[in-house]
């Protein structure tokens, strides 16, 4: 249980396996939102993680916000907020990279 927010401890998500210590984990969280920042704007969404509370804050440009606890949940939340399916093989991700 997290003492500050009351979230119960979850089984570690597989995406969090690459970190050894707390420094790695914090770095990975910042890197995670950086990567999401390259993807979510295509759906009119933003991601924020201040590493203060567990989870990733996902928001729409109109201010609607939700917290996703891990990446599996994030994509479900993102689709709900965006109102359409999120697909990493979308032409906007595979056709670009020309600059």
């Amino acid at each position: 249980m997290c003492a500050s927010c009351g979230y119960p401890a979850r089984p570690g998500h597989w995406t969090e396996a690459g970190a050894v210590d707390s420094h790695d984990r914090i770095r990975a969280r910042f890197r995670r939102v950086e990567v999401l920042g390259r993807v979510l704007p295509a759906y009119g969404l933003t991601a924020h993680d201040g590493a203060q509370v567990p989870g990733i804050q996902v928001g729409t440009l109109s201010g609607n916000q939700t917290i996703a606890l891990d990446l599996a949940e994030l994509w479900v939340v993102a689709e709900k907020l965006a109102g359409r399916p999120v697909d990493p093989l979308d032409p906007c991700f595979i056709g670009g990279e020309t600059d």
């Binding site: 089984p11 990446l71 994030l74 999120v86 093989l89």
Partner: protein, 323 residues
């Protein structure tokens, strides 16, 4: 000791359609001294256990007879595995404790939901790592099962290792066609032959035309193909996991299998998924002299996309230029 470096128990799932020879194969392997420190768990869909009588060579045998472990017997399986892990945790790591569990599924089980049950259980995820899915295929009835039963096909699709049993029975001329068909259904798995549990040579099937079989019910019908995806140094673990989690979320029904070793700060991680389920990665020893394992290369088996799309999409997520 078979257990992993982080002390988790390896789980080998032995599946295959009804009557494919799972118990015969396992009995022979035990006779030859394989799986010496393993607990054998036999799941029988029917309430009356029979197979346990045949597996007397097992160091320890547990029967799970309250239904098929992938559906109605799932709670029973989780409770049984929890019990085994609990018991093992009381013995210290230097002591005599088992390092492997071999689960012989019922002939009606799909390995996918079993892995999902383990992964989603908060206790088992810390104790068990699925090391291999072995699926047995009976050479006599395989084509019928692949063509007529979506379950038979799903079993073959999820395997790491396929063992074609009873290769001395049935139509010898049709065997290469069967092997070519199995290769189309699962392009990534190793295929070997067996007769009553002993290894048997298989005919060469290169260039042989596969027999067309209908796609399983959840598939679009396009053929599966393997893609080797090199993860270059500009792609870090975090970017890779963001990408893979998105891919499995969006395309989990089409991406059947992902497997490979990725280098991270925590060490070499063995990553594997079956459909949408990724199991908790296993940390491998730093220098494993296994030439078949290439680090930072993953194999994706799926359908409904182009191999190039995966590379470009990953490069976009990681922010590296793909040219």
């Amino acid at each position: 000791m078979a257990e992993t470096r982080d002390g988790r128990v390896k789980l080998t799932i032995l599946g295959g359609f009804l009557g494919s020879g799972k118990t015969t194969w396992l009995r022979h392997q035990l006779h030859e001294g394989r799986f010496p420190d393993a607990v054998i768990v036999v799941n029988e869909a029917a309430g009356t256990p029979v197979d346990d009588a045949l597996l007397s060579k097992a160091a320890r045998l547990v029967v799970l007879a309250d239904g098929c472990a992938c559906c109605e017997g799932r709670d029973g399986l989780v409770a049984l595995l929890r019990g085994l892990c609990d018991e093992r945790s009381r013995i210290d790591s230097g002591g005599e404790r088992f390092g492997r569990i071999v689960l012989e599924t019922s002939g009606l089980a799909d390995p996918g939901p079993i892995i999902e049950a383990i992964r989603s259980d908060p206790v088992l995820i810390h104790h068990i790592v699925v090391s291999e899915i072995i699926v047995l295929i009976d050479a006599v009835n395989a084509l019928g099962n692949l063509a007529g039963d979506p379950l038979g096909r799903r079993q073959v699709e999820t395997a790491d290792r396929l063992i074609v049993t009873k290769v001395d029975e049935g139509d010898q001329a049709g065997l290469p066609h069967l092997l070519a068909t199995i290769r189309v259904v699962n392009p990534g798995a190793a295929i070997t032959g067996a007769i009553r549990g002993s290894d048997a040579p298989l005919p060469d099937f290169a260039g042989v035309l596969p027999t067309p079989v209908a796609a399983s019910d959840d598939a679009s019908g396009a053929p599966l193909f393997p893609t080797r995806l090199a993860i270059d140094p500009s792609v870090d673990w975090t970017a890779f996991t963001v990408w893979l989690s998105a891919l499995l979320h969006a395309r989990g029904d089409d991406v059947l299998r992902v497997k490979g070793v990725v280098r991270t700060a925590a060490g070499r991680l063995l990553l594997q998924s079956v459909r949408k389920t990724v199991q908790s990665p296993e940390i491998l020893p730093p220098q494993e002299n296994d030439p078949s394992r290439e680090d930072n290369t993953i194999v994706v088996i799926g359908r409904g996309y182009r191999a190039e799309d995966l590379r470009r999409s990953l490069a976009h997520f990681a922010g590296s230029r793909s040219g």
